[in-house]
């Protein structure tokens, strides 16, 4: 049965996905397409990421309400999407992953309800106790009404990101994919965001992803 794809994909499907841009935030440094753009001196994650936010002029007051995972996801995706100087594909899917889900805010919420008589859960905390809220924050900021999903693995899983990312474009669900490993637990963090699209770029292989993260 002939099926009309929902997006403009007929040509794109013939070409393989490549990594067209990427951003790293780790070891107190920020990189865009492999070029170092910023170094922060702060030792704790919250101060560091605030420094990144200010230095890159992200101008998004909601940032301050977010938990550590969303802060890292918004910072890395904003630097990537703002920095590539192209119109953002409205059909870009978002595919994020990590190991620790949103453990920092989970612990915060858990502590707030473990005070005995004086326990008050905070709605502003609780709303962040799901890792996929990071997808929501990116979607809202960039008005992306697209496919998105959050996965948990023991460690960075490049094969899965390639397999599932490719399936989204090959099956006509999206025309490009913002993939990411966004991991933060207390002061340990690593964000690696990359866009895959059927265009010229770095070959999308496990080896290349492991080199770039």
């Amino acid at each position: 049965m002939e099926v009309t794809p929902p997006f403009f994909l007929k040509n794109a499907l013939q070409m393989k996905n490549n990594i067209i841009h990427y951003c790293n935030i780790k070891n107190n440094e920020v990189y865009l397409d492999g070029k170092k753009l910023y170094t922060g001196a702060e030792e704790d994650f919250l101060s560091f990421i605030k420094g990144v936010y200010k230095s890159f002029g992200l101008d998004y007051p909601k940032f301050y309400k977010m938990d550590t995972l969303c802060k890292l996801a918004i910072a890395s995706s904003s630097i990537l999407l703002n920095g590539i100087n192209k119109e953002i594909d409205p059909n870009m899917a978002i595919l994020l992953s990590n190991r620790s889900a949103c453990i920092d805010v989970d612990i915060k919420h858990q502590e707030s309800i473990s005070q005995g008589e004086g326990s008050y859960a905070s709605p502003a905390n609780f709303v962040y106790t799901l890792p996929n809220i990071a997808l929501g924050e990116i979607s809202i900021k960039y008005k992306l009404r697209s496919e998105n999903s959050f996965f948990i693995f023991e460690g960075f899983n490049p094969e899965f990101l390639i397999e599932y990312g490719n399936s989204l474009t090959q099956l006509g669900k999206s025309s490009s994919v913002l993939c990411g490993w966004v991991e933060v637990i207390e002061n340990e963090y690593n964000a690696f965001m990359f866009i895959i699209k059927p265009e010229k770029g770095i070959e999308l292989t496990k080896e290349n992803l492991e080199k770039l993260i």
């Binding site: 929902p6 013939q14 889900a101 919420h109 609780f126 709303v127 959050f150």
Partner: protein, 389 residues
């Protein structure tokens, strides 16, 4: 390879569930037909001074049932629930486990009670996944989908996609979440917990009732493997974000509408071809109203709709999968399950709420879910005909 024009069919079969109504699908179906619900009044002063409503599994009965499976070692409550739910699949499909078979887990908070203990290793979702997949003998790296309340149905969609691109031949999909103080207290702070058993779509609805459950289903490209149970082809699937607010749904139901619309377009069907909708129906003011908006936009206002949340409560990461299993099992008998708690309409646009078990020939079922983070998922299932089977 042009996958769009050559999409291989993918099927779901052998669904099962573990809920307060029973530890297998057959028991659950019978209880629902007998008018039983999983929701009950609970008194637990560690959660709140007044009694409240929830759907909680009898843990003593659970342990007894689990002990009959003869697994060695210690397993958490949620792990036991999952292993019980997936047991029939393990027995039936052991041979397929070594034939490019993947495993996907759907859970929002997993072993959340481990967060408050000294050793929080068990809190990590990949740890839970590894434990269960190892116990049942699946060697591929487990995939965990933690995407709020759409996870259970989205997991089926993910499995379908990875099979259609040839990466896998089969998937075991397992979903589960617990009734916990962590989640209950959070929804309390949202003033979203209903003072009564929840009433989806009703005028007097005032919030959710939480529940716990686990469910499992087998997803495969091999139709011959569906002979021992119900068989449905996954004909359309889409998950579109509202891009509106992180905890409130879009007032116009944008993401849900687009998800439903995409799923229908994928298989080129009109809304009239859909026989019934197993909706999200959490009984909050906003969610139910949003669904009315989205379903009307998709011309589904006359299609029988039912929410299973008034029966099972909101089971979070299990919900999408549990409700799919129950819906497809009912549809297999050409029955539409009841949307309980609905007496007087409380929506600004019309929906055809099916509030009693209805006999009807059911071929195409639409399952939808929505969740925090603006997530929405719509999946269309088509009953395999007896000729094909």
């Amino acid at each position: 390879m042009n996958l769009l024009q050559n999409k291989i069919p993918v099927y779901v079969t052998n669904g099962n569930c573990v809920t307060p109504l029973g530890f297998n699908l057959v028991n659950n179906l019978q209880e629902i037909k007998n008018g039983q619900v999983a929701i009950d009044k609970i008194t637990d002063e560690s959660l709140q001074s007044e009694s409240f409503y929830g759907a909680v599994i009898d843990k003593i009965k659970l342990k007894i049932a689990f002990s009959k499976l003869n697994y060695k070692g210690e397993f958490s409550t949620l792990e036991m629930m999952m292993l019980l739910a997936v047991d029939e699949i393990v027995v039936t499909y052991k041979e397929q486990f070594i034939d490019k078979c993947g495993i996907i887990f759907s859970s929002t908070k997993g072993n959340i009670n481990a967060l408050s203990t000294e050793d929080n290793t068990a809190y990590f979702l990949h740890h839970l996944a590894k434990k269960v997949s190892t116990a049942i003998g699946i060697k591929t790296e487990p995939i965990v989908l933690s995407n709020a309340c759409v996870s259970g149905i989205m997991a089926i969609s993910v499995a379908k996609r990875l099979i259609q691109t040839g990466v896998y031949n089969h998937f075991v999909v397992i979903g589960g979440d617990l009734f916990s103080k962590f989640v209950f207290s959070g929804f309390q702070s949202f003033q979203a917990i209903s003072a009564q058993p929840c009433k989806p779509y009703d005028k007097t609805r005032d919030g959710i009732t939480l529940g716990e459950a686990s469910a499992a289903i087998f997803v495969t490209k091999n139709k011959a493997l569906t002979e021992s149970s119900f068989c449905y082809e996954i004909i359309g699937d889409s998950s579109i974000n509202d891009a509106n607010h992180i905890s409130g749904p879009s007032r116009t139901g944008e993401g849900l509408f687009q998800s439903v619309n995409n799923a229908m377009k994928e298989v080129n069907i009109e809304s009239s071809a859909i026989d019934c909708i197993s909706s999200h129906g959490t009984a909050t003011n906003f969610n139910d109203e949003m669904e009315a908006q989205a379903f009307n936009r998709a011309a589904l206002e006359n299609t029988p709709v039912f929410s299973l949340k008034a029966c099972f409560g909101h089971t979070l990461g299990a919900a999408g999968l549990l409700e799919t299993v129950i819906s497809l099992a009912f549809a297999d008998e050409n029955l539409i399950p009841p949307s309980l708690g609905y007496n007087e309409d409380g929506l600004t646009l019309p929906l055809n709420i099916n509030n009693e078990i209805q006999e009807k020939e059911v071929n195409i079922v639409l399952k939808t879910a929505s969740g925090f983070g603006g997530s929405n998922t719509a999946v269309l299932f088509k009953k395999c005909t007896t000729d094909e089977k």
